[in-house]
Symmetry: C2
Amino acid sequence: MEDSPEHRPVHRETRFDADVARYAARAKGMVASEIRALFSVANRPEVVSLAGGSPNISGLPLDVVGSLLNELVVDHGTIAMQYCGAQGDPFLREQITDVMSQVGIDASPDDVVVTVGSQQALDLVTKIFCDPGDVVLCEAPSYVGALGVFAAYQCDVVHVEMDDEGLIPEHLENALARLTAVGRRVKFLYTIPSYHNPMGVSLGATRRSQILDICHRYDVLVVEDDPYGLLGFEGEPYRALRADDTARVVYLGSFSKTFAPGFRVGWALAPHAIRDKLVLAQESATLCPPTFSQFAVSTYLANHDWKGQIKSFREMYRERRDAMLESLADLMPATTKWTTPKGGFFVWVTLPEGIDSKAMSPRAVTARVAYVPGTAFYADGYGSQNIRLSYCLPPPDRIREGIRRLAAVVEREMELRETFGPLDSGRGEGVEFPGPEVQ
Amino acid sequence: MEDSPEHRPVHRETRFDADVARYAARAKGMVASEIRALFSVANRPEVVSLAGGSPNISGLPLDVVGSLLNELVVDHGTIAMQYCGAQGDPFLREQITDVMSQVGIDASPDDVVVTVGSQQALDLVTKIFCDPGDVVLCEAPSYVGALGVFAAYQCDVVHVEMDDEGLIPEHLENALARLTAVGRRVKFLYTIPSYHNPMGVSLGATRRSQILDICHRYDVLVVEDDPYGLLGFEGEPYRALRADDTARVVYLGSFSKTFAPGFRVGWALAPHAIRDKLVLAQESATLCPPTFSQFAVSTYLANHDWKGQIKSFREMYRERRDAMLESLADLMPATTKWTTPKGGFFVWVTLPEGIDSKAMSPRAVTARVAYVPGTAFYADGYGSQNIRLSYCLPPPDRIREGIRRLAAVVEREMELRETFGPLDSGRGEGVEFPGPEVQ
Ligand SMILES: Cc1ncc(COP(=O)(O)O)c(C=O)c1O
Ligand SMILES: Cc1ncc(COP(=O)(O)O)c(C=O)c1O
């Protein structure tokens, strides 16, 4: 612009040597998944993918949403396309308290912080609470995206056992007692009480109460992750943990499964002091969450029967869950076990003894069916006998076809095992991030 | 749902005691600004705000954008509202390489990572590179949002002096020599070469070349932040540092000032190895950047004369800059100095000796004019004699009125000073985050 061209530096041949030593220590916890390559194959149309966690949004009224967004831009574009406050739009935060009232939560919009999906809420909560080496208690298994966050902040994940009714209170108490005895610092319990990812199970009211009591006695914060809370197939939604403990629970919610994930609107509801820190963390992470996304969700909630839409999502997912459970019962070898989800997206399968789900995965993809190996959901290499199946995306007949293929693969595997003995795929490799398509 | 109501826990009165000791050490670096309260006052309509950094997007063709978004939802809604890859939409990344070609950059879409505004790019770069105590070199002064990020990751910011032609190469070399001699680990140089925030100045080609040479010799990474690069008022845009060094420079770009900030679409262009880490960091932070925002920007670029729009933004901002420079010359006390921006949004003012810009700020707001005190742009408490004025948002006549009010306040201040001597507002208070409305 102002200097003459001969001053321009010549192209430098020497490369910046981006060796590992230059990165922050936390970057070591960020590793790509081995199964990621598999997933690009799994996305081929001939493969039935029971792996993804993406919601089926084909039922949304696109014409309605399209014209609402058109109006939004024409009538309020200079606000909707401008920066906003880091805490998020006040009107949307009010609507979010309405949504949360469905799970028994009575909250003020003041205590809501809007985030880039609930994933970012997890990131910010961990960022403000966790120093390297701090302990986070998680269910065993737990949401892969949460494990990715905890790894990125160098937390020590301690898994607490679950059964078909969710997290087992006695095991939680034992873990806390043991950790306290050795002087470890437990920053929070991370839990998905309703329609668990990946297990599909839910905590009943008794256990919810017991878990709150235990966390109260050990003075431990609870991070309640609830993206599926409104997607139950029977009766009323579960009452959130946060509904019965306003001071100890940080509640995370999301519009990804009840509306659409592409706007990336989630939130955290937190006690005042924590909320303040979250707002500061949000400012430094993004300045503000996407204004346009917030207005889009807000206008959808205000002008469309969002509860009716959730009802039809529920019916669609129930039908798919039924298709999956029926075909599992019809087709899988007798020694296979699985959970019976009352909502959400996932069934957790325990394969017959000796089968390694990670080793089997490429063979399943060759047989044109994909799942997520159970090891993805543990920080410590467990889960090799498990797989997570999702019924959210494929239609019922494809689900049946997928289970048929999977059953055949498992049977082959059992035969192989009888011939050659069990294979070991190696434990304790740490958390791998399989990418957003897996979740 | 499944348990009877008597199992419901009673409301707990005891509070989770969110004392400081529970937070991560990094949370101490996240502090709210004292001037934030001032800003809510500054946003009152009777106040002329020369403080904000929000672009003036009133010139955007809202009808065009509205109907493009309507079409986007109706024709591609199930993709545009779904999760996408963590690196960002491939087609948008291709368009981003087109945008970058305007500043001389020849890049592959493969090396672009889409972020939630360039603010998030700054966050992710710092996250993957900086351990607590690592040194980041910044201009003196520097962008307040970057200082907020560096504080959140517990970096040590070392400021390098600038003059009216930007960062001074000799000072950079001295800083690196000094830090190397004492064995400090410099992770990167953070620089805004074109139309600096807050100084308004730009680096010429000679200095750009010298700075790249110095960073090459000391093997230091360069983070080039360029949100204003296409908003120059004279001739061709500056050639980006990245255009002449592909291996050592991470380039950050944004659509916030050339289109609209509310979609929160920015990006990082990085060498392969760093790009891989950034994608993993993005996955763990948000799963993926907002799909809808990306498609919105993409369809705008594809279907609208975006270069023409930038040209009219440029003309509008130049007119406002002229109004500001003229009124400063006409009205400010003789011993006041200021920079002459050739693009961007900001003028950096050095007040007459002995005036404290932070102490003066409430008095300015009382006189119905707002600015950002210079101390916001230093990690070390300097800048108390400076203020940042922005000409991006108010129309020319309001700018003139604002400068008239400001000049009166400064004159009063000089009189006070003559009567009572200089006031000290205290240095070295660390970085405060004044909120997204300031930037
Ligand atoms: C348990 C759980 N938490 C959080 C998320 C993140 O969702 P989002 O960031 O889209 O709100 C998911 C997504 O699948 C999930 O299953
Ligand atoms: C120098 C600089 N960098 C980065 C940003 C962040 O912009 P955004 O996150 O909207 O892209 C700004 C915003 O004002 C800025 O001035």
